[in-house]
Protein backbone atom coordinates (compact mmCIF):
# COMPACT_ATOMS: atom_id res chain seq x y z
CA UNK A 1 0.00 0.00 0.00
CA UNK A 2 2.75 2.38 0.94
CA UNK A 3 4.47 1.52 -2.34
CA UNK A 4 1.30 2.40 -4.22
CA UNK A 5 1.08 5.61 -2.24
CA UNK A 6 4.70 6.37 -3.06
CA UNK A 7 4.08 5.63 -6.75
CA UNK A 8 1.10 8.02 -6.72
CA UNK A 9 3.36 10.75 -5.36
CA UNK A 10 5.93 10.18 -8.07
CA UNK A 11 3.20 10.05 -10.72
CA UNK A 12 1.90 13.42 -9.50
CA UNK A 13 5.39 14.86 -9.54
CA UNK A 14 6.05 13.62 -13.08
CA UNK A 15 2.68 14.99 -14.24
CA UNK A 16 3.56 18.31 -12.67
CA UNK A 17 6.84 18.35 -14.57
CA UNK A 18 5.16 17.70 -17.90
CA UNK A 19 2.35 20.13 -17.16
CA UNK A 20 4.91 22.86 -16.64
CA UNK A 21 6.68 21.92 -19.88
CA UNK A 22 3.39 22.04 -21.78
CA UNK A 23 2.48 25.41 -20.33
CA UNK A 24 5.89 26.67 -21.36
CA UNK A 25 5.34 25.57 -24.94
CA UNK A 26 1.84 26.97 -25.11
CA UNK A 27 2.63 30.31 -23.54
CA UNK A 28 4.01 31.88 -26.67
CA UNK A 29 2.59 35.39 -26.68
CA UNK A 30 4.94 38.09 -25.41
CA UNK A 31 3.89 39.79 -22.23
CA UNK A 32 1.46 42.69 -22.43
CA UNK A 33 2.60 45.99 -21.05
CA UNK A 34 1.21 46.81 -17.62
CA UNK A 35 0.21 43.24 -16.81
CA UNK A 36 2.27 41.51 -14.10
CA UNK A 37 4.18 38.50 -15.39
CA UNK A 38 4.86 35.20 -13.67
CA UNK A 39 7.73 32.87 -14.44
CA UNK A 40 10.07 30.66 -12.48
CA UNK A 41 12.27 27.62 -12.30
CA UNK A 42 12.66 24.45 -10.27
CA UNK A 43 15.34 21.87 -9.61
CA UNK A 44 14.90 18.36 -8.23
CA UNK A 45 18.05 16.40 -7.38
CA UNK A 46 19.04 12.89 -6.42
CA UNK A 47 22.54 12.93 -4.92
CA UNK A 48 24.74 10.06 -3.83
CA UNK A 49 28.00 10.97 -2.13
CA UNK A 50 30.48 8.26 -1.22
CA UNK A 51 30.01 7.04 2.38
CA UNK A 52 26.78 9.04 2.79
CA UNK A 53 23.11 8.12 2.30
CA UNK A 54 21.44 8.77 -1.03
CA UNK A 55 19.50 12.02 -0.85
CA UNK A 56 16.48 13.20 -2.83
CA UNK A 57 15.89 16.91 -2.70
CA UNK A 58 13.57 19.47 -4.22
CA UNK A 59 16.49 21.84 -4.13
CA UNK A 60 14.92 25.00 -5.49
CA UNK A 61 11.38 26.18 -6.26
CA UNK A 62 11.53 29.74 -7.53
CA UNK A 63 8.79 32.08 -8.69
CA UNK A 64 9.58 35.33 -10.47
CA UNK A 65 7.08 38.15 -10.64
CA UNK A 66 7.63 41.20 -12.79
CA UNK A 67 5.69 44.29 -13.63
CA UNK A 68 6.18 47.27 -15.93
CA UNK A 69 4.68 50.39 -14.38
CA UNK A 70 5.73 52.27 -17.49
CA UNK A 71 8.29 51.74 -20.24
CA UNK A 72 10.85 53.39 -17.96
CA UNK A 73 9.86 51.94 -14.60
CA UNK A 74 10.03 48.20 -14.07
CA UNK A 75 9.86 45.83 -11.14
CA UNK A 76 11.39 42.37 -10.95
CA UNK A 77 11.44 39.83 -8.15
CA UNK A 78 12.49 36.29 -7.37
CA UNK A 79 11.18 34.32 -4.40
CA UNK A 80 12.80 31.01 -3.59
CA UNK A 81 11.97 28.05 -1.43
CA UNK A 82 15.00 25.82 -0.93
CA UNK A 83 14.79 22.16 0.11
CA UNK A 84 10.99 22.05 -0.10
CA UNK A 85 9.98 23.32 3.31
CA UNK A 86 10.88 25.52 6.23
CA UNK A 87 10.23 24.49 9.78
CA UNK A 88 11.08 26.17 13.05
CA UNK A 89 14.72 26.10 14.05
CA UNK A 90 15.42 22.73 12.50
CA UNK A 91 17.89 22.26 9.74
CA UNK A 92 15.67 22.26 6.71
CA UNK A 93 15.05 24.73 3.94
CA UNK A 94 14.74 28.44 3.52
CA UNK A 95 12.38 30.93 2.01
CA UNK A 96 14.31 33.81 0.57
CA UNK A 97 13.84 36.87 -1.57
CA UNK A 98 16.64 36.55 -4.09
CA UNK A 99 15.77 39.65 -6.04
CA UNK A 100 13.25 42.46 -5.64
CA UNK A 101 14.18 45.69 -7.32
CA UNK A 102 12.85 48.58 -9.32
CA UNK A 103 14.65 49.77 -12.44
CA UNK A 104 14.41 53.36 -13.57
CA UNK A 105 15.40 53.47 -17.23
CA UNK A 106 17.00 56.81 -17.94
CA UNK A 107 19.40 56.30 -20.80
CA UNK A 108 20.93 53.44 -22.71
CA UNK A 109 24.21 54.02 -20.86
CA UNK A 110 22.86 54.87 -17.43
CA UNK A 111 19.90 53.41 -15.59
CA UNK A 112 19.18 53.16 -11.88
CA UNK A 113 18.38 50.04 -9.87
CA UNK A 114 17.33 49.87 -6.21
CA UNK A 115 16.19 47.03 -4.01
CA UNK A 116 17.43 43.49 -3.49
CA UNK A 117 19.99 42.86 -6.22
CA UNK A 118 22.15 39.98 -7.33
CA UNK A 119 25.86 40.61 -6.75
CA UNK A 120 27.21 40.67 -10.34
CA UNK A 121 30.24 38.42 -9.72
CA UNK A 122 31.00 35.40 -11.91
CA UNK A 123 28.77 33.59 -14.39
CA UNK A 124 26.32 31.61 -12.27
CA UNK A 125 25.20 34.18 -9.73
CA UNK A 126 23.29 36.20 -12.32
CA UNK A 127 22.53 33.30 -14.71
CA UNK A 128 21.35 30.49 -12.46
CA UNK A 129 18.29 29.11 -14.24
CA UNK A 130 18.87 25.31 -14.39
CA UNK A 131 18.94 24.99 -18.23
CA UNK A 132 21.74 27.60 -18.41
CA UNK A 133 24.45 25.43 -16.87
CA UNK A 134 25.60 21.82 -17.10
CA UNK A 135 25.87 19.62 -14.04
CA UNK A 136 23.21 18.86 -11.48
CA UNK A 137 24.70 21.15 -8.85
CA UNK A 138 26.25 24.54 -9.45
CA UNK A 139 30.03 24.52 -9.75
CA UNK A 140 32.12 24.11 -6.59
CA UNK A 141 33.74 27.46 -7.35
CA UNK A 142 30.30 29.06 -7.38
CA UNK A 143 29.52 27.48 -4.02
CA UNK A 144 32.57 28.00 -1.80
CA UNK A 145 34.54 30.79 -3.49
CA UNK A 146 31.73 32.91 -5.00
CA UNK A 147 28.81 32.06 -2.71
CA UNK A 148 25.82 31.84 -5.05
CA UNK A 149 23.10 32.92 -4.88
CA UNK A 150 24.76 36.06 -3.50
CA UNK A 151 22.39 38.97 -3.12
CA UNK A 152 21.84 41.97 -0.93
CA UNK A 153 19.91 45.18 -0.70
CA UNK A 154 21.56 47.88 -2.72
CA UNK A 155 21.39 50.76 -5.11
CA UNK A 156 23.32 51.25 -8.28
CA UNK A 157 23.49 51.73 -12.00
CA UNK A 158 23.62 49.63 -15.14
CA UNK A 159 23.79 50.28 -18.82
CA UNK A 160 25.02 49.43 -22.28
CA UNK A 161 28.22 51.23 -23.25
CA UNK A 162 28.10 50.24 -26.90
CA UNK A 163 30.50 48.14 -29.00
CA UNK A 164 29.38 45.08 -27.01
CA UNK A 165 30.24 46.43 -23.56
CA UNK A 166 27.81 46.66 -20.66
CA UNK A 167 28.18 47.21 -16.93
CA UNK A 168 26.49 46.96 -13.55
CA UNK A 169 27.66 48.68 -10.36
CA UNK A 170 26.01 48.69 -6.94
CA UNK A 171 26.52 49.95 -3.41
CA UNK A 172 25.54 47.23 -0.92
CA UNK A 173 26.00 46.43 2.79
CA UNK A 174 29.22 44.60 3.69
CA UNK A 175 29.70 41.08 4.97
CA UNK A 176 29.52 39.78 8.52
CA UNK A 177 32.99 38.38 9.20
CA UNK A 178 31.78 36.40 12.22
CA UNK A 179 30.19 34.00 9.72
CA UNK A 180 33.38 33.27 7.76
CA UNK A 181 34.66 29.69 7.87
CA UNK A 182 37.67 27.73 6.71
CA UNK A 183 35.57 25.37 4.59
CA UNK A 184 33.15 27.73 2.87
CA UNK A 185 34.99 31.03 3.04
CA UNK A 186 32.73 34.08 3.06
CA UNK A 187 29.47 32.22 2.29
CA UNK A 188 27.99 32.43 5.78
CA UNK A 189 28.97 36.09 6.03
CA UNK A 190 26.31 37.16 3.53
CA UNK A 191 23.63 39.33 5.10
CA UNK A 192 21.07 38.75 2.36
CA UNK A 193 19.02 41.81 2.99
CA UNK A 194 17.42 41.02 6.33
CA UNK A 195 18.08 43.80 8.86
CA UNK A 196 21.45 44.07 7.16
CA UNK A 197 23.99 46.21 8.97
CA UNK A 198 25.06 48.81 6.43
CA UNK A 199 27.74 50.46 8.54
CA UNK A 200 30.48 48.79 6.49
CA UNK A 201 29.29 49.33 2.91
CA UNK A 202 30.75 47.62 -0.11
CA UNK A 203 30.91 48.33 -3.81
CA UNK A 204 30.49 45.68 -6.47
CA UNK A 205 30.43 45.76 -10.23
CA UNK A 206 30.89 43.97 -13.48
CA UNK A 207 32.08 44.98 -16.92
CA UNK A 208 30.98 42.59 -19.65
CA UNK A 209 31.82 42.23 -23.33
CA UNK A 210 29.58 40.30 -25.67
CA UNK A 211 29.98 39.55 -29.35
CA UNK A 212 28.58 36.78 -31.59
CA UNK A 213 28.42 33.87 -29.16
CA UNK A 214 31.31 35.10 -27.02
CA UNK A 215 30.88 36.73 -23.61
CA UNK A 216 33.66 37.79 -21.26
CA UNK A 217 33.38 39.59 -17.96
CA UNK A 218 35.41 40.99 -15.13
CA UNK A 219 33.78 41.57 -11.75
CA UNK A 220 34.64 42.61 -8.23
CA UNK A 221 33.26 43.10 -4.74
CA UNK A 222 35.13 45.20 -2.17
CA UNK A 223 34.13 46.33 1.28
CA UNK A 224 34.28 46.06 5.01
CA UNK A 225 33.07 43.14 7.04
CA UNK A 226 33.66 44.04 10.64
CA UNK A 227 30.41 45.20 12.13
CA UNK A 228 29.81 41.83 13.77
CA UNK A 229 33.05 42.35 15.68
CA UNK A 230 32.18 45.79 16.91
CA UNK A 231 32.96 45.01 20.55
CA UNK A 232 36.32 43.49 19.81
CA UNK A 233 39.46 45.55 19.64
CA UNK A 234 40.63 44.69 16.11
CA UNK A 235 40.89 46.48 12.82
CA UNK A 236 37.87 46.01 10.57
CA UNK A 237 38.51 43.03 8.28
CA UNK A 238 38.19 43.92 4.63
CA UNK A 239 37.15 41.61 1.81
CA UNK A 240 38.01 41.92 -1.85
CA UNK A 241 36.63 39.53 -4.44
CA UNK A 242 37.88 39.56 -8.01
CA UNK A 243 36.66 37.34 -10.82
CA UNK A 244 37.08 36.99 -14.56
CA UNK A 245 35.04 34.69 -16.75
CA UNK A 246 34.31 33.86 -20.37
CA UNK A 247 31.75 31.84 -22.29
CA UNK A 248 31.75 30.78 -25.91
CA UNK A 249 29.22 28.98 -28.05
CA UNK A 250 29.59 28.01 -31.69
CA UNK A 251 27.55 25.38 -33.45
CA UNK A 252 27.34 22.32 -31.27
CA UNK A 253 30.19 23.33 -28.97
CA UNK A 254 30.25 25.43 -25.81
CA UNK A 255 33.11 26.38 -23.51
CA UNK A 256 33.22 28.41 -20.33
CA UNK A 257 35.72 29.23 -17.65
CA UNK A 258 36.02 31.33 -14.54
CA UNK A 259 38.81 32.42 -12.20
CA UNK A 260 37.86 33.88 -8.83
CA UNK A 261 39.87 35.06 -5.85
CA UNK A 262 38.85 36.27 -2.41
CA UNK A 263 41.24 38.28 -0.24
CA UNK A 264 40.42 38.75 3.44
CA UNK A 265 42.42 41.56 5.00
CA UNK A 266 43.08 41.17 8.72
CA UNK A 267 42.34 37.43 8.68
CA UNK A 268 44.90 36.81 11.45
CA UNK A 269 43.27 39.26 13.84
CA UNK A 270 39.88 37.91 12.85
CA UNK A 271 40.91 34.34 13.75
CA UNK A 272 42.25 35.49 17.14
CA UNK A 273 39.09 37.49 17.87
CA UNK A 274 36.73 34.66 16.94
CA UNK A 275 38.82 32.25 18.99
CA UNK A 276 38.37 34.50 22.02
CA UNK A 277 34.62 34.44 21.42
CA UNK A 278 34.11 30.73 20.79
CA UNK A 279 37.22 29.00 22.07
CA UNK A 280 38.10 27.60 18.64
CA UNK A 281 40.09 29.22 15.89
CA UNK A 282 38.07 29.14 12.64
CA UNK A 283 41.34 29.08 10.65
CA UNK A 284 40.06 31.56 8.08
CA UNK A 285 42.47 32.06 5.20
CA UNK A 286 43.69 35.40 3.93
CA UNK A 287 43.24 34.22 0.34
CA UNK A 288 40.77 31.82 -1.31
CA UNK A 289 41.21 30.79 -4.92
CA UNK A 290 38.97 29.01 -7.38
CA UNK A 291 38.91 28.35 -11.10
CA UNK A 292 37.20 26.05 -13.55
CA UNK A 293 37.14 25.23 -17.22
CA UNK A 294 34.29 23.42 -18.94
CA UNK A 295 33.75 22.02 -22.40
CA UNK A 296 30.41 20.80 -23.71
CA UNK A 297 29.40 19.32 -27.06
CA UNK A 298 25.96 18.54 -28.40
CA UNK A 299 26.22 14.90 -29.39
CA UNK A 300 22.69 14.44 -30.73
CA UNK A 301 22.12 14.69 -34.50
CA UNK A 302 21.25 18.05 -36.04
CA UNK A 303 17.87 16.73 -37.20
CA UNK A 304 16.72 16.24 -33.61
CA UNK A 305 15.00 19.21 -32.02
CA UNK A 306 15.70 17.77 -28.60
CA UNK A 307 19.35 17.79 -27.61
CA UNK A 308 21.85 15.64 -25.75
CA UNK A 309 24.94 17.48 -24.56
CA UNK A 310 28.01 15.81 -23.03
CA UNK A 311 30.29 17.88 -20.86
CA UNK A 312 33.41 17.76 -18.72
CA UNK A 313 34.63 20.28 -16.17
CA UNK A 314 37.75 20.57 -14.05
CA UNK A 315 37.69 22.76 -10.96
CA UNK A 316 40.13 23.97 -8.35
CA UNK A 317 38.62 25.39 -5.18
CA UNK A 318 41.08 26.15 -2.44
CA UNK A 319 39.66 27.91 0.61
CA UNK A 320 43.06 27.79 2.38
CA UNK A 321 45.16 29.14 -0.47
CA UNK A 322 47.11 31.59 1.66
CA UNK A 323 47.07 31.80 5.44
CA UNK A 324 47.80 34.71 7.74
CA UNK A 325 51.05 34.53 9.72
CA UNK A 326 50.93 31.92 12.45
CA UNK A 327 48.18 29.78 10.92
CA UNK A 328 48.62 26.50 9.08
CA UNK A 329 46.65 25.38 6.02
CA UNK A 330 44.06 22.65 6.37
CA UNK A 331 45.11 20.56 3.38
CA UNK A 332 41.75 18.76 3.13
CA UNK A 333 40.21 22.08 2.12
CA UNK A 334 42.62 22.61 -0.76
CA UNK A 335 40.41 20.83 -3.23
CA UNK A 336 39.97 20.06 -6.91
CA UNK A 337 37.36 18.07 -8.79
CA UNK A 338 36.60 16.54 -12.17
CA UNK A 339 32.94 16.52 -13.19
CA UNK A 340 31.71 14.68 -16.28
CA UNK A 341 28.15 14.13 -17.36
CA UNK A 342 25.37 14.80 -19.79
CA UNK A 343 22.33 17.02 -20.13
CA UNK A 344 19.24 16.00 -22.09
CA UNK A 345 17.05 18.86 -23.31
CA UNK A 346 13.64 17.62 -24.56
CA UNK A 347 13.00 21.34 -24.81
CA UNK A 348 15.51 24.18 -24.37
CA UNK A 349 13.75 25.07 -21.09
CA UNK A 350 13.81 21.58 -19.57
CA UNK A 351 17.07 19.88 -18.61
CA UNK A 352 17.49 16.31 -17.39
CA UNK A 353 20.95 16.11 -15.91
CA UNK A 354 23.41 13.44 -14.88
CA UNK A 355 26.98 13.75 -13.68
CA UNK A 356 29.74 11.97 -11.83
CA UNK A 357 32.32 13.91 -9.89
CA UNK A 358 35.55 12.94 -8.22
CA UNK A 359 37.07 15.27 -5.67
CA UNK A 360 40.71 15.39 -4.58
CA UNK A 361 42.53 17.37 -1.93
CA UNK A 362 46.08 17.92 -0.73
CA UNK A 363 45.63 16.01 2.51
CA UNK A 364 47.45 12.70 2.92
CA UNK A 365 44.85 11.41 5.36
CA UNK A 366 41.48 12.57 4.02
CA UNK A 367 40.25 11.31 0.65
CA UNK A 368 37.91 13.38 -1.47
CA UNK A 369 34.59 11.66 -2.21
CA UNK A 370 32.96 10.39 -5.38
CA UNK A 371 29.56 11.80 -6.13
CA UNK A 372 26.79 10.63 -8.43
CA UNK A 373 24.06 13.14 -9.22
CA UNK A 374 20.81 13.05 -11.15
CA UNK A 375 18.50 15.98 -11.59
CA UNK A 376 15.80 17.69 -13.56
CA UNK A 377 15.46 21.41 -13.82
CA UNK A 378 13.07 23.53 -15.79
CA UNK A 379 12.27 27.12 -16.53
CA UNK A 380 8.88 28.48 -17.50
Amino acid sequence: MSQLHSFAHWKSAILAVFTCATLSAAQTAPAREGVPTLSGYMEVHLNKEQHRPTEADLHRFVLMVGHSFTDRLKFWSEVEIEHAFVEGAEKSGEVAIEQAYVDLMLHRRFNLRAGMVLIPVGIINERHEPPTFHGVERTFVDSVIVPTTWRDTGVGAFGDLGRGFSYRAYLVPGLDATGFTAEEGIAEGRQQGGHADASDPAVTGRLEYRQAGFTAGGSFWAGGSGFGLIRLDIETPTVTVGSIDARFRRGRHEARGQWSMVHIGGAGDLNHALQLQSGNSPNIASRLLGAYGEWATRVSPDRWTHEVVAFGRYEVFDTQNKMPDGFLKIDALRRSALVVGATYFPDPDVAYKFDVSREWNKSEGVRGPWRLNFGVGWWF
Partner: protein
Protein backbone atom coordinates in the same frame (compact mmCIF):
# COMPACT_ATOMS: atom_id res chain seq x y z
CA UNK B 1 12.90 20.02 -37.49
CA UNK B 2 10.18 22.52 -36.95
CA UNK B 3 10.64 25.80 -38.73
CA UNK B 4 8.81 28.84 -37.54
CA UNK B 5 8.49 31.85 -39.79
CA UNK B 6 6.47 34.82 -38.73
CA UNK B 7 6.39 37.78 -41.06
CA UNK B 8 4.96 40.99 -39.80
CA UNK B 9 4.77 43.74 -42.37
CA UNK B 10 4.12 46.98 -40.65
CA UNK B 11 2.61 49.95 -42.41
CA UNK B 12 4.85 52.97 -42.44
CA UNK B 13 2.13 55.26 -41.08
CA UNK B 14 0.52 58.33 -42.51
CA UNK B 15 3.71 59.90 -43.77
CA UNK B 16 4.68 58.87 -47.29
CA UNK B 17 8.22 57.61 -47.18
CA UNK B 18 10.27 56.46 -50.13
CA UNK B 19 12.44 53.72 -48.69
CA UNK B 20 16.10 54.54 -49.02
CA UNK B 21 17.06 50.89 -48.90
CA UNK B 22 16.46 47.45 -47.62
CA UNK B 23 18.62 45.99 -44.91
CA UNK B 24 18.71 42.55 -43.34
CA UNK B 25 19.73 42.61 -39.70
CA UNK B 26 20.28 39.42 -37.75
CA UNK B 27 19.73 39.69 -34.01
CA UNK B 28 20.53 36.93 -31.55
CA UNK B 29 18.83 36.89 -28.17
CA UNK B 30 20.34 35.23 -25.15
CA UNK B 31 19.76 35.74 -21.43
CA UNK B 32 20.09 38.75 -20.91
CA UNK B 33 21.16 40.61 -24.03
CA UNK B 34 20.51 41.15 -27.69
CA UNK B 35 23.48 40.92 -30.05
CA UNK B 36 24.08 43.40 -31.58
CA UNK B 37 22.84 45.73 -28.86
CA UNK B 38 22.92 48.81 -31.10
CA UNK B 39 21.53 48.94 -34.62
CA UNK B 40 21.94 52.02 -36.79
CA UNK B 41 20.05 52.62 -40.06
CA UNK B 42 19.19 55.51 -42.34
CA UNK B 43 15.70 56.98 -42.19
CA UNK B 44 13.39 55.23 -44.63
CA UNK B 45 15.26 51.94 -44.51
CA UNK B 46 13.09 48.85 -44.60
CA UNK B 47 14.68 46.62 -42.00
CA UNK B 48 14.21 42.90 -42.20
CA UNK B 49 14.97 41.65 -38.69
CA UNK B 50 15.91 37.98 -38.49
CA UNK B 51 15.53 37.03 -34.84
CA UNK B 52 16.89 33.87 -33.23
CA UNK B 53 17.54 32.74 -29.69
CA UNK B 54 20.44 30.85 -28.14
CA UNK B 55 18.33 29.68 -25.20
CA UNK B 56 14.71 30.22 -24.18
CA UNK B 57 12.06 32.20 -26.04
CA UNK B 58 12.34 35.95 -25.78
CA UNK B 59 10.25 38.91 -26.81
CA UNK B 60 11.30 41.59 -29.27
CA UNK B 61 9.45 44.83 -28.64
CA UNK B 62 10.32 48.16 -30.19
CA UNK B 63 9.04 50.55 -27.55
CA UNK B 64 6.64 53.10 -29.02
CA UNK B 65 5.76 50.96 -32.02
CA UNK B 66 3.41 48.08 -32.70
CA UNK B 67 6.30 45.62 -32.95
CA UNK B 68 6.11 43.03 -30.19
CA UNK B 69 7.06 39.60 -31.48
CA UNK B 70 8.16 36.36 -29.95
CA UNK B 71 11.59 34.93 -30.70
CA UNK B 72 11.37 31.12 -30.64
CA UNK B 73 13.60 28.98 -28.49
CA UNK B 74 17.03 27.72 -29.52
CA UNK B 75 16.98 25.68 -32.76
CA UNK B 76 13.21 26.25 -33.12
CA UNK B 77 13.50 28.54 -36.12
CA UNK B 78 13.54 32.29 -36.49
CA UNK B 79 11.14 35.19 -36.49
CA UNK B 80 11.33 37.59 -39.42
CA UNK B 81 9.95 41.10 -39.04
CA UNK B 82 9.86 43.84 -41.64
CA UNK B 83 9.94 47.29 -40.16
CA UNK B 84 10.16 50.61 -41.92
CA UNK B 85 12.36 53.01 -40.00
CA UNK B 86 10.41 56.13 -40.89
CA UNK B 87 11.18 58.33 -37.89
CA UNK B 88 14.53 59.75 -36.92
CA UNK B 89 15.49 59.02 -33.33
CA UNK B 90 16.69 56.45 -30.84
CA UNK B 91 14.29 53.64 -30.05
CA UNK B 92 14.51 51.15 -27.22
CA UNK B 93 14.16 47.47 -28.05
CA UNK B 94 13.34 45.33 -25.04
CA UNK B 95 12.67 41.71 -24.24
CA UNK B 96 8.93 41.49 -23.63
CA UNK B 97 8.79 37.91 -22.42
CA UNK B 98 10.15 37.05 -18.94
CA UNK B 99 13.41 35.20 -19.47
CA UNK B 100 15.15 35.05 -16.12
CA UNK B 101 17.03 36.91 -13.45
CA UNK B 102 18.23 39.79 -15.63
CA UNK B 103 15.13 40.16 -17.80
CA UNK B 104 14.52 43.86 -17.17
CA UNK B 105 17.97 44.86 -18.41
CA UNK B 106 17.70 42.92 -21.67
CA UNK B 107 17.58 45.85 -24.04
CA UNK B 108 19.01 47.13 -27.31
CA UNK B 109 18.84 50.40 -29.20
CA UNK B 110 17.65 51.15 -32.72
CA UNK B 111 19.14 54.38 -34.04
CA UNK B 112 17.46 55.91 -37.08
CA UNK B 113 19.47 58.77 -38.66
Amino acid sequence: MMHLLIVLILASGQQAIRPSGHQIIRVTAERFAFTPSEITVERGTVIEFHLTSDDTDHGFRIVGSEVNAEIPKRRRGETVIKYTADTVGRFVIECSRPCGAGHTSMRATLVVK
